[in-house]
Symmetry: C2
Subunit: 326 residues, 2 copies
Amino acid sequence: MAGAKTTEESIIQWIQRHAPQRPESSVRLGIGDDCAIIRPPSEAFEMVVTTDQVIENKHFLRDSHPAGALGRKLLARGLSDLAAMGAAPAWMLLSLGLPDWARGDWLEQFLSEMFDSIRALDPGGELVLAGGDLSAAERFTGHITACGTVPRGRALQRAGGRIGDRIYVSGALGGSALGLQRLLAGGVADETDPAVDRHLRPTPLLALGSALREAGVSAAIDLSDGLSSDLGRLAKASGLQAVVDAGDVPLFPGASRQQALHGGEEYELLFTAPAGLALPERLAGSDIRPIGELRAGEGVVLREQGRETPLAEAGFDHFRSANSSS
Amino acid sequence: MAGAKTTEESIIQWIQRHAPQRPESSVRLGIGDDCAIIRPPSEAFEMVVTTDQVIENKHFLRDSHPAGALGRKLLARGLSDLAAMGAAPAWMLLSLGLPDWARGDWLEQFLSEMFDSIRALDPGGELVLAGGDLSAAERFTGHITACGTVPRGRALQRAGGRIGDRIYVSGALGGSALGLQRLLAGGVADETDPAVDRHLRPTPLLALGSALREAGVSAAIDLSDGLSSDLGRLAKASGLQAVVDAGDVPLFPGASRQQALHGGEEYELLFTAPAGLALPERLAGSDIRPIGELRAGEGVVLREQGRETPLAEAGFDHFRSANSSS
């Protein structure tokens, strides 16, 4: 996308040429009309839909976040919600609000890494960019709407936890918060630093979400706002209290416990399963680890050496913090 | 929504209390999980999806556009695309980027008028707010994703026009551009001025879109960017040239011909039908009027007293103009 070719029409044409093509998909009519036309799945399936946004100076800073990483992250935010429901991706819509500086090369990098990420995450080729909207803007905004399919009645919900269920988390926590801290510490971002990479380029765990659904877990949520916040949401939706064994929370190398308990943008999956359900230590490429259990009550409690203390939500609330990234 | 109650959680709770409730809808699980869960329509139907945005200082100015009108307009932008496909609304997602000033009363007015508009447009009660996303932002942004259903294979597309088809438009044109001109002329907006009202509070023509589909029209588009632009899109998608009889373009009272030919945000429907198809002069509450025809060639031509001149697209391109409203 040359700097000069930045009319609305030329951007749409560039997207049509470069977005992954899936001729046999659920999208019967894609980019270029008032609406996209979607074939519904068979009645054996339901659809799940989600929408997410990245906004300049709230979710990212232009100087510290590379354009390509941001395109990948916006995609990951949407697809991670599908993963948390145990769904397979089907189609997405993408809307952009573009300042002058974000057209041309910046936009090409943003979109190219997003499209490459789609090809890598979805080699079977179901996920289609079906449409979107472009506008000028004073601050960059990116919006994704993502739709997936899941066998009817089988979507993983936050509300499915039962008394006695074990709480599990995938991966290791705190890396994204650590990476953000290093990124904002100034200087040029070291993208070879694993923590910085984890913050900049999260991977939505689609295969893990489907595997967990098939394994029969009871509830799930993705870790977007931090363990303390997101586990609080799962516990509240299930009408129960979550107890976390502090020593069992897996730490990303170099991350502090505070970063692991409260740091956002992990995009790992947090889920619960009946105590009798045997789960492997590794599933669909991710380590999974028990960190506590659900019991009667409310809120989240941290248990350490026999002592229990309430774990206040200190994860990201979009209106509590007005700082850069969540 | 009191000024103090503006945490993310309190806004979501306010929305859950005030959004129209449709217990028997296509939405099996709405606001409050990682995704909404949607029941697919039967295989006799397809779905159509669209996404639209309003961005501060691009689509509106805080000082001249009332919050309630803006909420209604964002809804209209999404639903008008469904109308142009001949679809019935099913569900929507709403994402907001909120500066400090936009929380509290402003947001309550924005949402209240949107929700009232849903109740008025959809008395049968199919359209459900299924979810969304909230974030802080330096400039207000609102995003809607709207999904509708249409009998399989019957969605109206831009590409359906055939040689000899008549071109029709609903309503009268230029009112929105005239209203915007008056709105920006300074002073307090006179919301009793019909042109100002038309600019601020457009109505998506859902019943007309369905009636046109049932009547057998060949192609349709909604007038969001202006007749010259949108007719150019329909003609291009159909691989034909559009000829417009200048004297037949219906003018909104007080609007200039330039405003009628190029002004955006009308949200009227522009459509084509075989010359042999008898259409009434009034349908689903809208006047409909023939303004020209499709023939071999490309582009849009204005015909007046036997002379033909190319009608250049002068409607809204989001990157040609950086000014306030489209």
